[in-house]
Point group: C2
Chain length 518, copies 2
């Protein structure tokens, strides 16, 4: 066919020169990148008895040992609800009746509202949402290596996220270290909502910064305070301070987000062998009980508050203490975490993680082990979907692009092929006959343009063409692609009135000195 004559290189260059982002925003296969739904029943690693053992053990610790909650209001909420609270030790013990009654109020599926309603999707019940990397203080690319994140880098990652439909949520990384912490949340949230029309992320770093961020997001969505409280427009991640502890900003995050009706993802950071027991079962008990306490708190504050069960159980290298991600233990803990979240009938959040220092084969196979564990385990929300490197200390431009490819491939795997009479191709098989080929047949010509996933990074040239083109490996190709995507970036539309109102808010709060960070 005609297109074949141009060859892979010609096509690649052409694609890069015109619009890679357009290409990737429109899957040729018909797969749904905006609202992927996983059609496969989840893999289960725990028997019913084993699941029950972890559940029972979790309740036992919550009842007998309890969790230390450093935020006075958090303890007071539990006390009012009937929990046993000791203000001296700050320990909160919750009986199973109160705990499970509260957890049962959490919704099993959460509809997400975007400022661009064409992007609306959901988490829970098979719906899967991908987020960009969060939490990383550093940024890297293969040109300049690793350095502290800046607001410019932060904005670049937003532009990348805006350019790919498979990224549904902004991540919050790299951290713009060049901006003072008193006003960082203002500029970050302003950038989130103006440079993208994706689902915003808010760090739970104290009351003042949460209030500012929610207000900016409310303005961006053009809704009243009352409307804002009735729908889910943004999310925060609460990492419990494992073991058995919730600090002030994290507890405040749960309370404030529940009050505002916004999504809290409660993710215990249970590294087996360090902050959690060296056994996967023991680490899961700790993860589970900490998640349950957080979920219960949100439900006591506001019954039906949108929450997700976060599973992050991984292991450390027991010889060096280094954290590891995308290990076999991580995969198995992911399968189990999915079962636990479904046992409590809440959406489950997992991650795309690895511990590599470079966007190399290790980064890819660890990411794949994490993602398959998550997605075949039935995860509904994948944090750090694109760009996480070095155990989360760095947001990598090249890994971002490689991860887009991987996430798009999952969306394609979720998109089943059809088995109609025409698909079965009996006439074509008969016509082509023994030893023939299908290239030029009508059956092929009618379908070839949309038959297969069209890759972003993968290079399928033969070795000769590849070496002629400079023997570029996937990291080098990803480097060129991220620059082209930034070059092609188009800012999504927003009413000028909202843009101005956000700017005025940011200016005023900046003049007021922003917030005193904890």
């Amino acid at each position: 066919m005609g297109a074949a004559k141009r060859g892979r290189r010609g096509r690649r260059r052409e694609a890069l020169e015109s619009s890679v982002s357009q290409q990737s925003n429109h899957p040729v296969s018909g797969a749904n990148y905006r609202a992927p739904v996983n059609p496969y029943p989840p893999i289960e690693i725990l028997s019913e008895d084993q699941l029950n053992s972890i559940h029972e053990a979790s309740l036992k610790v919550i009842e007998e040992t309890g969790m230390r909650i450093l935020y006075d209001e958090g303890r007071e909420i539990f006390r009012q609800a009937g929990a046993e609270v000791n203000d001296e030790t700050m320990m909160v013990k919750i009986d199973r009746g109160l705990l499970m009654e509260s957890v049962a109020k959490a919704p099993s599926k959460i509809e997400l509202e975007y400022r661009n309603p064409e992007r609306n999707n959901a988490i829970g019940k098979g719906h899967v949402v991908f987020s960009a990397v969060g939490g990383a203080p550093n940024v890297s690319d293969i040109d300049n290596g690793k350095r502290p994140g800046t607001l410019e880098d932060f904005k670049n990652f937003l532009k990348l996220s805006q350019s790919f439909d498979i990224v549904h949520m902004v991540g919050g990384a790299p951290e713009p270290i060049d901006i003072d912490t008193s006003i960082r949340h203002l500029l970050v949230t302003q950038a989130d909502v103006t440079l993208t029309d994706k689902f915003p992320h808010v760090y739970a770093r104290g009351q003042g910064s949460i209030d500012d961020a929610l207000e900016i997001i409310r303005i961006a969505n053009g809704v009243t305070n009352e409307q804002f409280r009735q729908n889910v427009y943004c999310n925060t991640v609460v990492n419990t301070n494992s073991p058995l502890q919730l600090d002030v900003p994290m507890t405040q995050g749960i309370v404030e987000f529940a009050k505002a009706g916004q999504l809290t993802i409660i993710t215990p950071f249970t590294l087996s062998g360090a902050m959690a027991p060296v056994t996967i079962s023991g680490a899961l008990v700790l993860q589970n009980l900490e998640a349950l306490v957080g979920i219960a708190l949100a439900q006591i504050v506001r019954p039906g508050a949108p929450v997700a069960y976060g599973g992050f159980t991984s292991n450390v290298d027991m010889k060096s203490g280094s954290p590891a991600f995308g290990t076999p233990e991580y995969t198995k803990a992911a399968f189990a975490s999915g079962q636990l979240a479904r046992f409590y009938n809440v959406p489950w959040r997992s991650s795309n993680v690895n511990a590599s220092n470079a966007p190399d084969a290790q980064s890819a196979y660890e990411s794949e082990m994490a993602l398959w564990g998550a997605l075949m385990g039935g995860a509904n929300l994948i944090k750090h979907g694109a760009g996480w490197l070095e155990g989360g200390l760095t947001a990598s431009y090249e890994k971002y692009i490689i991860d887009i490819e991987i996430m798009q491939m999952f969306a394609e795997v979720f998109h089943p092929f059809t088995v109609t009479v025409e698909d079965l191709a009996l006439e074509a098989i008969k016509d082509v006959g023994p030893g023939g080929h299908f290239f030029g047949t009508q059956h092929t010509m009618e379908r070839y343009k949309t038959a297969f996933y069209d890759p972003l990074v993968s290079d399928w040239q033969n070795y000769g063409s590849w070496t002629e083109g400079g023997s570029k490996d996937s990291a080098q190709r990803a480097n060129a692609i991220y620059k082209q995507i930034l070059n092609d970036y188009v800012q999504p539309q927003m009413d000028q009135a909202r843009i101005d109102e956000i700017q005025q808010y940011v200016d005023r709060r900046t003049r007021e000195g922003g917030v005193q960070m904890l």
Copy 2:
């Protein structure tokens, strides 16, 4: 703990200096690398109706169009059994009664006999076996790039295969191009059985070379002709010449291996869009019908002959015609192929494949997409498990080592964690308390040495230590590891009498001129 003080680099160097192979041959976690069993129920992508549609379409083509079989004896066997054979067109049409009656005689599980009985394992019914790369005419490493394979390279790959328990079958690559084809099979098989005690692979390249290879393998196992026929000591792969064709050596391979009671893996090479329809369903129909004809032939020759259903359906880049592997279409076709093989109650062979030209992130994520499709689809035999690169044109030393890591990780994922009272760690969680850590606890000390998978290639050092160590990516680390493994290689024991008998056989057949290759 004491070991932590040495740090990752110290440990890595020490491990490399002493014996990486020993480390890898003994999984610390207790996972079974020698005879892995997949505990997970397979993922199913086809509904019962869809499965039936593909089955029915396959039978229809076999009945109405048939398959062209170039080998006279092959057609004669089908004719004797009652098939409709046309010697002019060489077409063989088989009615569904004869076909399904024959396929039903194939065993669902096959016990594999090794010359070292400690390695005995099986394929089918959850049992999984991994093979090294086969078929590649070239070899590569990052020092010297790509070049034609030599006998020395071939032997090196055998030495690597001998050094890792997770490799169960030798692969047959790279092809030793420096050895004349008349005697190549002699030297190759001699090397297979003397440099390893793994399961040997034989190329189906005509009667004479098959006879020679089986005789050398028989001698190596120290069994009589009669004993050899009663157990399974080696395997061959038969790629049908898609579409709808079986050439002389391939058909002869099926016939001779069935007669000898040895394992034939019948793998149609159905690249969707090229040798197979552009629809995955259509490609699966072609794959399925070709596999069924091959399986039926083996069962007619010898009822109960050991066979596996090979699935290799992938797609091409429709713009360049380049084959692609580890694509989303490949993953989905793998899930479906597993269902088809189980429908016929025969073991299923899949592969670890990718189309990258370098041992980079692409090679890893494509391999993972292929392996997860295969293993979560219930595959029993993974060909090209270690070392395949560049769409199978090259056997890569570095990819071999990276693949060992990946396969070991799968064996670990297959090894479920336990959920005993001690595993649940309630005492440890209580003792450590809020904000503590588990590093020094008795619960940890008793278990840390065997708690987690100990990686071969993955580097979990922090960025500073990693850059101090030269910023080596996973391909560079794999390069150092493969050299160390070759350096540490220990030849497995064999009775001197057998060694001599094999040498005498090879010498005699060489003097006789070997075989005239087809």
